[in-house]
């Protein structure tokens, strides 16, 4: 992880439109952000798209970043992007609800023949509700404090703590059994 002085320098460079600083920022955060998207979507292609979109958004919005936790700010954008993606997918699903049932068997086949090896964790994460899954991933990949996460989610810190505790406990039970 970059030292805070280095990060401050890189952010300053990004704000002035320096391509090298942006490249450094991509190198620092792409792994964590990709992990966040992958664990939430379980799909490499979608994660690729979301990661690209995130960095494009970052270039647009970097000027609005003031003081505070950069990780918190960055992962807030990532979280919004993920929810936007979910909403658009839901809209698409509604539109193709009738067609979906017709192609159901085909979809299942495609999933099975995919070259992505879905790991055990990904399977068990899928059993958690969407909000808890997002919270766990946000905490793990952003490495932000509970106070920051609670602020990002606009909820009391006690609620965040309790949701994350319950979620991680359940995930552990699912993995161990």
């Amino acid at each position: 992880m970059a030292k805070s002085e280095d990060l401050a320098r890189i952010i300053k460079g990004c704000k002035s439109g320096d391509a090298k600083s942006l490249s450094e920022l991509i190198d620092i955060y792409s792994g964590r952000l990709y992990g966040y998207f992958y664990r939430l979507t379980g799909n490499r292609e979608t994660s690729n798209d979301l990661l690209s979109e995130l960095f494009v958004k970052l270039v647009e919005k970097i000027g609005s970043f003031k003081d505070g936790s950069f990780e918190g700010w960055l992962f807030k954008i990532a979280s919004n992007l993920f929810y936007d993606y979910l909403r658009s997918r839901q809209r698409q699903e509604k539109s193709f609800e009738v067609l979906k049932s017709e192609f159901e068997s085909e979809t299942t086949e495609t999933k099975q023949s995919s070259d992505e090896r879905i790991d055990k964790l990904q399977v068990q994460l899928g059993r958690l509700d969407r909000d808890t899954r997002e919270l766990i991933m946000l905490r793990y990949y952003s490495q932000a404090s509970f106070k920051e996460i609670a602020a990002m989610r606009a909820e009391p810190i006690g609620t965040t703590l309790s949701k994350l505790h319950r979620g991680l406990k359940k995930l552990r039970e699912l993995i161990e059994h």
Binding site: G17, A19, L22, S30, G35, Y38, R44, L51, S145, K169
Partner: protein, 165 residues
């Protein structure tokens, strides 16, 4: 504060009893260990290269846009100055022409007076005046006063027509 340096037990103690807080903190640590033990795949190098290229293009376009906008603004300001200059020159010319017009205005008035229609009117008035004079000299005739009145009416009418132009 970074999430990694956070004292989870202390945080939970704000909401639950000491032992429960310790247990909750332990649950979180173990849960996060599972996540650490099952790392998510990393993005492809090709994807990262593509993102960097896309960003570089986007930055270039952004710079070009900024330059173009600055140029447009400067052109607008220059056009404003030019317009102002043209208006100032026009106003200056107008101010310098104004006295000349004032000098010329009697000439313009005289041009109005030098109309051929005025000559006709003058001749007519002279004719009426001579008629009137002739009538007044033969005042003793029977219908003399009526003719005088008629002539006077004609004179007034002609006079009015003259002033109407």
């Amino acid at each position: 504060m970074n999430g990694q340096n956070e004292n989870l037990k202390e945080l939970f103690e704000k909401f639950v009893e000491g032992e429960q807080a310790e247990q909750a903190a332990e649950d979180i640590r173990k849960g996060e260990q599972i996540l650490g033990g099952n790392p998510a795949p990393q993005p492809d190098d090709e994807l990262i290269a593509n993102i960097k290229a896309e960003i570089a293009v986007s930055l270039y376009n952004k710079k070009q846009d900024t330059l173009r906008r600055t140029a447009y603004k400067m052109m607008a300001v220059a056009a404003g100055f030019m317009l102002l200059a043209v208006i100032s020159v026009k106003l200056f010319e107008k101010n310098s022409i104004e006295p000349e017009r004032a000098v010329n205005s009697p000439a313009a008035l005289s041009a109005v007076w030098d109309n051929s229609a005025d000559e006709t009117l003058t001749a007519e008035i002279e004719q009426i005046e001579s008629d009137l004079f002739a009538m007044q000299s033969s005042e003793n005739s029977s219908n003399g006063s009526e003719a005088v009145t008629e002539l006077e009416m004609e004179m007034i009418e002609t006079n009015n027509d003259f002033w109407k132009g």
